[in-house]
């Protein structure tokens, strides 16, 4: 059987290059086609065999490290989970995630996301910390289920690329970070929802979401950020009104 190929149309941009090569531009590569290859395998083939300068992030190639998100034929995808067979014999257009500045080729600048993640205080907040010698905090399976889904976020940022609000309002805190804030607010071990309230009530936080739901559509881990944000709106409103009656109240 003659070896089949598939064509990749890859976005190139490199600020260091001599002017003519800087881009942005698209470059075509013909890559051997294998029905069990993912898009990431094809990119690795290019880097090894055709063009060592092609630049992208990857590591685990099993859908859990969150490094290899890119636009594949216009849709945000983990390239380690996007199979060539779903595009063949058509060509595949690969671009960096939209709504992010580009560092080089398929690598986007993460600074803004990292700052937003930190801003929502995604960690357990409580004053009455138990000694580890006293054993674990009790949490029933039902209590775990209150937030477990929202803890599955791998920070791959596909939801930021899909979110129409991110495109028009870059200050929006965004689906992943808000879902993580909500994950901690719903954790029975946490006492921090009041501390997160100010951030959550900002115009750019939960109220910035117009509930288009694209984030939930593209999430590769079924986190449902849109659902988290809707719940968070209700929780934040309750907490906000509670703050008038119990200024220093806990839960």
């Amino acid at each position: 059987m003659a070896e089949a190929n598939i064509t990749l149309e890859v976005f190139r941009y490199h600020p260091d290059s001599p002017d003519g090569d800087r881009g942005p531009r698209f470059q075509s590569y013909d890559v051997p086609y294998h029905d069990d290859w993912v898009v990431l395998d094809a990119l690795n083939w290019v880097k090894d065999n055709a063009d060592g300068s092609l630049t992208y992030r990857w590591s685990c190639r099993m859908g859990v490290c969150g490094s290899c998100g890119m636009m594949v034929n216009g849709e945000p995808k983990l390239t380690c989970a996007a199979f060539l067979k779903d595009y063949y014999p058509g060509s595949i257009r690969i671009e960096p995630l939209t709504n992010f500045p580009v560092e080089r080729d398929l690598v986007v600048v993460m600074d803004d996301f990292m700052a937003k993640l930190k801003s929502v205080k995604p960690y357990i907040i409580r004053d009455d910390v138990n000694d580890t010698g006293d054993g674990e905090y009790r949490q029933t399976p039902a209590e775990l289920a209150q937030y477990k889904q929202f803890s599955m976020c791998i920070n791959c940022m596909l939801c930021y690329a899909a979110c129409p609000v991110m495109g028009s309002e870059p200050e929006f805190v965004g689906p992943a970070a808000l879902a993580l804030a909500h994950r901690y607010n719903r954790d029975t071990r946490d006492r921090g929802s009041r501390e997160r309230l100010e951030k959550m009530m900002e115009h750019e936080a939960v109220w910035g979401c117009t509930f288009v739901g694209e984030c939930t559509e593209v999430c590769p881990k079924n986190v449902d950020p849109a659902g988290a944000i809707q719940q968070a709106k209700t929780d934040a409103a309750k907490e906000y009104f509670k703050s008038f009656f119990m200024p220093k109240g806990g839960r």
Partner: protein, 614 residues
């Protein structure tokens, strides 16, 4: 149009402005590094911690660990049993003082992580749930469904965001440890974004860079696991200990090497050959119970035997012609069908996702094809129980280190706990060291970083005419390691591997890159990683060649027996500038558990334990 954030190197930035100083420098942002950072931040809020990582911390390979983390928490378990399982699992090569300390500190560390928000799976009463793993007498593996490493890593990373004295250097690739007058005081790190060298100076350094599975062709390890920190510590003069001991996990997906967790067997999955036989019963791992028997799966028996033995059984089955040939080599089957959809979705949903996506097999309806896959390196940078190396100011923890807890074969689910216990200890020890040794020679260290920048420019960026491609050397290294340093070894195969690696080292000097630019040059990073891997590969081949016995994961066909008289010792590989590593030895620390027969099967561990405890 794309928003193009032009972030190339600014020619106005001089090297001098790329010097930063902190109290403790942590290289590596996985579980061990993050745990160390928190330990320092909590111990002394006045200390400044630099957390340097070549990837964003949440990409670190701790993220891929699935099944769980061991610690004694339930009333039916005991510290003694965890110690015995670990020592017998190690084939008596683990240092027993380290094991005892580890097992005693493990529960507190796991509870600490629970307090930091890790979403452990729970019992109905709200206490943490545990499951059995291979080589365990009693179930003691804490888990967060089958994404335990993911949840641990994210809980640790998110917790570090609390501390203002932890300063992150994300996407900084450390190329060299800076050692002045016998003391490690920092690291030279390429900032990926700009391609410029940053001298990150401190009063102590902790290396937490993980393992080196990518030396092998077929591995569960992610692309970033290249033995960087091991090689850098080795080049700086620290010994690499017990490098001949590499763990093959018995259940990887063919082709990709993606891990199917041992938890799938802990929950009752069985291994069968092409005849449908539970072949493990033919290899001194006990007798199978029926899958419907309430006592299935039995601890330390059959499918819950240790990883080294299960992987060795696969090779023997293949030699008997009992395996199934596929385009990605021979396989056996991991059959989970009897667990049912409900249990699979509740306890091991990621297994279903991975098998369905990457093997085209839904484990609810079909058995999963699996084969042994390189998973973990027991060896690493020689440290004491505080993570201290032989170089003053240099500490190490996690998979890159060898305390030694894991000996000749690591007990499944000890490694996640290890990075907590020894990450915290190394962090604490480094913090004390920094407080006690405040003076460093900044000028000398800056000069070293500048030299390192010039070396990289000379050998890679500005170099032209190199004839070797990265991919060719890497692929030949892969074959050499699999052929000679795989599950079974002998002198002839290992000699060939050793010689091939020497040839590849020569050819590496003739490497040529396509990319001669500075900013985000991932080809340069791959070239530097390849150099690290070749050094580490040589320590593996030389250590394995010299160990003329079989113990745990190191099986010599030409020396099939364990030889306690000659080899109840740790190997120590030390760097020589112009030649292969020198191999020395030091004694194993034996305290209360004298070497005994390593037996598995029903009751074997129990009786062995009883007789050993004298």
């Amino acid at each position: 149009m794309k928003d193009l954030g032009a972030r190339g190197a600014d020619p106005g930035v001089s090297l001098m402005s790329m010097v930063v100083q902190h109290d403790v420098i942590i290289v590596g942002g996985g579980g061990a590094g993050l745990r160390a950072a928190i330990a320092i931040a909590e111990q002394d809020p006045n200390l400044s911690v630099a957390a340097v990582s070549k990837v964003y911390p949440m990409r670190s390979h701790t993220v891929a660990a699935e099944g769980g983390a061991a610690a004694v928490i339930k009333p039916n378990d005991s510290i003694e049993d965890h110690i015995y399982d670990t020592i017998s699992g190690s084939d008596w090569l683990a240092d027993q003082d380290a094991v005892e300390l580890f097992v005693n500190e493990a529960p507190r560390e796991m509870i600490q992580l629970e307090h930091w928000g890790c979403p452990w799976s729970r019992e109905a009463d709200g206490s943490v749930a545990v499951r059995p793993f291979g080589g365990m007498k009693i179930e003691r593996t804490w888990y967060a469904a089958d994404k335990t490493g993911f949840h641990m890593l994210h809980a640790l990373f998110q917790t570090t965001l609390k501390y203002d004295n932890i300063v992150r250097y994300d996407e900084h690739f450390v190329t060299k440890l800076l050692v002045d007058d016998g003391r490690c005081c920092g690291a030279a790190a390429l900032e990926l974004r700009s391609g410029r060298m940053r001298a990150i100076l401190g009063k102590s350094v902790i290396v937490c860079t993980g393992g080196c599975g990518r030396i092998f062709p077929f591995t569960t390890n992610g692309a970033i696991k290249n033995g960087d920190g091991m090689a850098m510590a080795y080049r700086a003069g620290a010994a690499l200990k017990d490098m001949e001991f590499l763990q093959y996990h018995p259940t990887g997906l063919p082709g990709t090497g993606i891990l199917i967790t041992e938890a799938s067997r802990g929950e009752g999955g069985i291994m069968v050959n092409k005849h449908g036989d539970r072949y493990l019963q033919d290899y001194d791992l006990g007798k199978p119970l029926d899958i419907n028997d309430p006592n299935h799966p039995q601890k330390r028996t059959m499918e819950l035997g240790p990883r080294d033995k299960l992987s060795q059984c696969f090779v023997k089955e293949m030699q008997k012609g009992n395996t199934i040939e596929t385009k990605y080599g021979h396989v056996v089957y991991l059959d989970l069908r009897h667990l049912g959809e409900k249990k699979i979705d509740k306890k091991i949903p990621f297994v279903r996702e991975l098998a369905t996506n990457y093997a085209g097999v839904d484990p609810v309806h079909e058995p999963i094809p699996v084969r042994p896959v390189l998973h973990y390196v027991m060896g690493g940078i020689d440290t004491d129980i505080n993570g201290a190396t032989s170089i003053a100011g240099l500490f190490a923890a996690g998979e890159c280190a060898c305390v030694s807890l894991n000996g000749a074969n690591r007990l499944g689910s000890n490694s996640l706990t290890e990075l907590l216990v020894f990450g915290a200890r190394a962090g604490s020890a480094a913090a004390h060291f920094s407080a006690d040794h405040p003076q460093i020679n900044t000028a000398a260290l800056e000069a070293q970083a500048k030299d390192e920048q010039q070396r990289i420019d000379r050998e890679f960026i500005s170099k032209s005419g190199g004839r070797q491609r990265i991919v060719d050397i890497r692929v030949e290294m892969h074959h050499a390691m699999e052929d000679g340093a795989g599950i079974f070894r002998d002198e002839k195969l290992l000699t060939r591997t050793r010689d091939k690696l020497a040839e590849l080292q020569q050819r590496y000097r003739d490497l040529g890159l396509d990319d001669h630019t500075l900013s985000y040059n991932t080809e340069l990073i791959a070239a530097l990683e390849l150099g690290f891997m070749l050094d580490v590969a040589e320590t593996i081949a030389h250590s394995a060649l010299k160990r003329t016995e079989s113990r745990g994961s190191h099986q010599r066909l030409d020396h099939p027996n364990r030889d306690d008289k000659s080899f109840l010792k740790h190997s120590l590989a030390t760097f020589r500038k112009d030649g292969p590593p020198a191999i020395g030895y030091k004694d194993v620390t034996i305290t209360k558990w004298p070497p005994g027969a390593r037996t598995y099967g029903a009751d074997s561990g129990l009786t062995a334990a009883a007789t050993q405890r004298t």
